[in-house]
């Protein structure tokens, strides 16, 4: 088997006094989708941000295609160009059109010519069902459309892996479906993904493996059916039953 696409080894991260990650190990193979579940504040976002080098880790290492990326000698910009990140709050650039949002990486990070970047940008938007919205600014788009533009933007850089940070949490319930459909579509195409999510049914459907993050550690990991139906750990059971009470499963 080839080297895993993303490998996290014994990563720790603290914000001041608060220990957010206390030794996380995670392996994501080619074409694999791993769902990260866990309570708010369990470190899901922080872990994704550490993989994309948006945060500096304290200890341990992260590998991308077998190469260490958390070495001071590694250029973080070059690493981020090989990964895609989708934010909970979309974080689209409000002064740019949808098309410009999906073109900017192609144009300035991957140095494509204007015509080429524009052609690819239009194709990307069309692919995510956004043809006709090219010239709209983000604030003229619905939340679901904005998040799909954000997914197109992250996917546009032909990433080795996509990191999705609670991509449906900011959406009105009726808009969740269209965004999940876009992610499902990426999975069908074999995109390697790490998906932090609160949508357990979605995790069950799309993920090859579910990892439960608790107090900065991955307490258990396995196929969705196993982790979600027959969790081994007491903490996992408690987390899932709280979701069940809240009607979120």
């Amino acid at each position: 088997m080839s080297a895993p696409v993303v490998e996290v080894k014994a990563v720790t991260k603290a914000y001041g006094e608060r220990q957010v990650l206390s030794g996380v190990d995670l392996t994501v193979g080619e074409h694999e989708a791993v769902a990260l579940i866990g309570a708010s504040g369990s470190g899901k976002s922080t872990l994704l941000r550490c993989i994309d080098l948006l945060e500096e880790i304290d200890d341990g290492d992260v590998f991308l295609d077998g190469e260490v990326i958390t070495d001071p000698a590694v250029d973080p910009v070059a690493v981020r160009r090989r990964l895609g990140f989708v934010f909970q709050a979309y974080n689209l650039f409000p002064h740019m059109t949808a098309l410009q949002n999906v073109m900017i990486g192609e144009r300035y990070a991957h140095r494509a010519g204007k015509a080429e970047a524009e052609e690819r940008g239009r194709a990307l938007l069309a692919r995510f069902g956004l043809d006709g919205r090219e010239d709209d600014r983000p604030d003229n788009l619905s939340g679901g459309e904005q998040q799909r533009v954000a997914i197109a933007r992250a996917f546009g850089g032909k990433p080795r892996a996509l990191l999705l940070d609670e991509v449906t949490s900011a959406l009105d319930p009726e808009l969740v479906g269209e965004v999940l459909a876009a992610v499902r579509d990426l999975k069908a195409e074999g995109m390697t993904m790490v998906i932090a999510t609160h949508e357990m049914s979605f995790a069950r459907e799309v993920a090859d493996s579910v990892a439960f993050l608790h107090d900065g550690r991955i307490l258990e990991q396995g196929p969705p059916a196993q982790v979600l139906e027959h969790p081994e750990r007491e903490e996992t059971r408690r987390f899932l039953s709280r979701l069940l009470e809240a009607g979120r499963i």
């Binding site: 994309d52 973080p76 160009r81 650039f93 002064h95 990486g105 300035y108 990070a109 604030d139 992250a154």
Partner: protein, 280 residues
């Protein structure tokens, strides 16, 4: 629009519309009456004062105005050249100061220190004193011979004075852009400087355009300060004519010229402030 028109207006709705119109009419009547009373009262107070005939002659003489206007206008042309030049210089220098002050790169440490000192000095010294110091200090150094034109020295002093303020305005704008924008820019693979240039600055500058233009209104008036080191701009030209003819009308002419450039800019700023919510 169409959907609303399609619904036939009910009794209640018509009632409300009548009441709304009545309120609007009453409001307009009250505004007109109170303006008439207050403005009329003020005018009456001035016009019936015992000194008015004299003031009218010494401040608002039409013949003096016609006589002085060309010379004051010529002086004002110097003001315009000075503030336009200073505005252009300030926009660039202040941005550089803000960027240096905000950066965290080790190589820029000395520059960062310098820019902090510069901003402190430039904001801390009264503009009139700055004009004096530069206007008389630079020629005394005798670095450039012959001594530079005092109007240019005055412009340099104004540039120093305003760069500090405007740098802080820029910095506030840059700071106001949400962190997530920077994260997203890095996540699509941009470098820090590309993120600043393509994502942060365009948003930050747009947000501080009104306070920035406000500083320019202030600068357009302060152009008159260069007169203390010699150049004959509008205020100085008017003062000279006033001294010659013992009539203050030329100063009114100068005041009107300053208003002619500051009021339109003020309206632009007002409009920007008004549409801010609509922008986003």
């Amino acid at each position: 629009m169409n959907a609303a028109a399609a619904i036939p207006a009910s009794e209640r709705r018509l009632e409300r519309e009548v009441a709304k119109r009545r309120r609007a009419r009453r409001g307009a009547a009250i505004a007109a009456l109170s303006s008439l009373l207050i403005l009329g009262g003020l005018a009456a107070l001035v016009l019936t004062s015992s000194g008015w005939p004299e003031v009218r002659e010494t401040f608002f003489s039409w013949s003096e105005f016609k006589n002085a206007f060309p010379e004051v206008l010529e002086g004002f042309w110097l003001d315009v050249k000075v503030f336009m030049g200073v505005e252009a210089a300030v926009l660039v220098i202040a941005l550089a100061l803000a960027l240096v002050k905000i950066s965290s790169s080790a190589g820029l440490f000395p520059l960062r220190l310098l820019s902090i000192v510069f901003v402190d000095i430039s904001r801390g010294i009264p503009t009139v004193l700055m004009v004096y110091l530069i206007g008389f200090g630079i020629p005394a150094l005798q670095i450039v011979k012959p001594a530079p034109d005092p109007a240019i020295l005055g412009a340099i002093a104004l540039t120093i004075s305003y760069s500090g303020y405007v740098a802080e305005v820029y910095r506030a704008g840059i700071r106001s852009v949400h962190r997530g924008q920077h994260d997203a820019a890095l996540a699509v693979g941009l470098t820090h400087s590309q993120a600043m240039r393509l994502v942060i600055l365009p948003q930050g500058i747009r947000r501080v355009a009104p306070p920035l233009l406000n500083d320019f209104i202030s600068l357009q008036k302060d152009a008159a300060l260069i007169s203390i080191i010699g150049p004959i701009e509008a205020f100085r030209a008017a003062q000279i004519l006033q001294g010659e003819n013992f009539n203050f009308t030329p100063l009114i002419a100068a005041a009107l010229l300053y208003l002619a450039v500051t009021v339109p800019l003020a309206r632009v700023v007002d409009r920007m402030g008004g549409s801010e919510g609509a922008v986003r």
